[in-house]
Symmetry: C2
Subunit: 139 residues, 2 copies
């Protein structure tokens, strides 16, 4: 029954949870704990609980490059004792500040989210209180 044809808003179906660029602060936090490379960071991301919708490696590598272009991390090639060479990223001081602004930003997101839940539950209470009396006219 969905029969979603076009290519506008919502065309890809589902109601996918997504905080835009949420991977970015996660990577910054991991790098705050110490330098690392893309592949390793990718594996450590599951610490943040998005088991469904696991991150795509291409996204990770692109975010790391973007962080470097903006001066939030630096990178160097490093030969490991096994496997191919790795590009090892290190958080800069600017990157550290950037992480701080991300945290404040996410706290704001959290507040907004809770104002939604508040509105939702407030409304649902009223809605349920009216059940059995004014049930007509809805649904």
């Amino acid at each position: 029954m969905p029969r979603r044809g076009g290519r506008g808003y919502g065309a890809q179906g589902g109601c996918r949870r997504r905080i835009g660029r949420f991977l970015e602060p996660c990577l910054l936090l991991l790098l705050h704990a110490g330098e690392s490379h893309g592949y390793e960071l990718l594996e450590n991301l599951d610490r943040f609980g998005f088991s469904k919708n696991p991150a795509d490696s291409s996204t990770i590598y692109r975010i790391l490059r973007s962080l470097e272009e903006r001066g939030f991390v630096t990178s160097m090639w490093a030969e490991g004792d096994s496997g191919p060479a790795r590009r090892v990223y290190t958080l800069t001081e600017r990157g550290n500040f950037y992480l701080e602004t991300w945290v404040m930003d996410l706290e704001e997101t959290d507040r907004i989210l809770h104002s939604f839940f508040h509105e939702y539950h407030k409304h649902m209470e009223v809605h349920h209180a009216n059940d059995g009396e004014t049930d007509k006219g809805k649904e």
Copy 2:
């Protein structure tokens, strides 16, 4: 100093807070309270606390159209007693279910967000506990 040139990930600057399609559940909730039209919904959105980054009207109208294409709302033209005609939207039963799934989805988002804060504060505690001793090698 930012000097962000290209057009890759993060090229637009800032660390914009954004929950993808967060407007959608807000509109659904407003419509759950009763039928309404785009312009009115736009004005009622500030109830959800995103005073900065207020919603763009084009986005609202596009979301409403998309909701209709997916069968979550229906619309009718209505002549008001003043001003131009309005397209009045009504939540369907399917839209009601969709709102429920959105709420569960946002609760998951909330959990992920808090697992980030948890990691952050846990890490920062250790980091600060080491201050003055192992302060070298970082920054």
